[in-house]
């Protein structure tokens, strides 16, 4: 990512119930030296706890998780009214228009459907910080 708007390291919290996918997503993100995953969580509750300890610039999270799923997590995070707000990109297995619209209506700034390449994920992140 070489956007002029992105000069510093973007710190990311990655949230997914699968440890495997967290590792895979972290690998994709770290292929860009301007991006780093500084914290991970396996569900929405743990993500909220991590956010109380670590300030991040962006959250990338899955939709389907136990206990507190991705949509409920987004709603809870928005209710916290953090300043500045932390943008959230949701990763979904189902990329139907209705599913994407549903995710965005909960307050996610963007949504990316699996499967995606590292380049597509980085481009999605770049767009968030270019606006």
């Amino acid at each position: 990512m070489n956007s002029d708007n992105v000069k510093r390291l973007i710190k990311i919290l990655a949230v997914d119930d699968s440890a495997f996918m967290l590792t895979a997503i972290t690998k994709m993100i770290r292929s860009d030296p301007e991006l780093d995953v500084v914290s991970t969580a396996r569900d929405g509750y743990k993500a909220l706890f991590k956010l109380s300890q670590t300030r991040v610039d962006l959250i990338i999270g899955g939709v389907n998780m136990p206990d507190m799923d991705g949509l409920e997590f987004v709603r809870n995070l928005n209710d916290m009214k953090l300043e500045p707000p932390i943008p959230i990109i949701m990763i979904t297995t189902e990329g139907t228009e209705s599913k994407v619209a549903d995710i965005l209506s909960f307050g996610a700034i963007a949504c990316i459907a699996k499967p995606f390449t590292s380049d597509q994920l980085r481009e999605k992140i770049g767009r968030v910080f270019a606006t």
């Binding site: 996918m21 189902e94 699996k114 995606f116 597509q120």
Partner: protein
């Protein structure tokens, strides 16, 4: 089975492997017999439930499973460990999710279950006997991977 459904399943599989696993699979245009999947030692399965119902499953050898895992994690995986089971489960999840997206262009047809992964040397699976079933073979180097669809519409 409707050729459009088969095309959606083939395209879904090719996209997942190309984008997430960095493997270019080559589909065999001929459908394969059920017995072929029984040679495999790893199976990932996802249930479909709704207006349409059935099962999408992905079948591969331990070597193919380890290659999928290595590519997704960016590290050499040389044993059939939990990461391999997770990788095959995740690939099955993505194939089924992508297939659902393509199938749902004209309305939602089904929801997906969570994936189940089976590993072993001798097992058979049995699904709904009154629903059409197809097995599609994909080739990558010397390895074969099978995607099976059992679908009642």
């Amino acid at each position: 089975m409707n050729p459009t459904i088969l095309k959606d399943l083939v395209d879904s599989t090719l996209e997942v492997f190309s984008k997430m696993v960095a493997i270019q699979l080559a589909p065999n245009p001929e459908l394969r017999p059920e017995e072929d999947v029984q040679k495999c030692q790893i199976t990932g399965m996802i249930g479909l439930a709704g207006k349409s119902m059935g099962i999408v499953s992905v079948h591969c050898s331990p070597r193919m499973g380890m290659t999928i895992t290595s590519n997704m994690l960016g590290m050499d995986v040389t044993t059939l460990n939990d990461d391999v089971k997770d990788a095959v489960g995740e690939v099955t999840n993505m194939v089924a999710g992508n297939f659902k997206t393509k199938m749902s262009k004209n309305g939602k047809l089904f929801d997906l279950s969570v994936p189940t992964v089976i590993v072993g040397e001798k097992y058979t699976t049995k699904t709904m006997t009154d629903a059409p079933s197809v097995v599609i073979e994909f080739q990558w180097q010397e390895e074969k991977l099978y995607v099976k669809l059992n679908l009642k519409t």
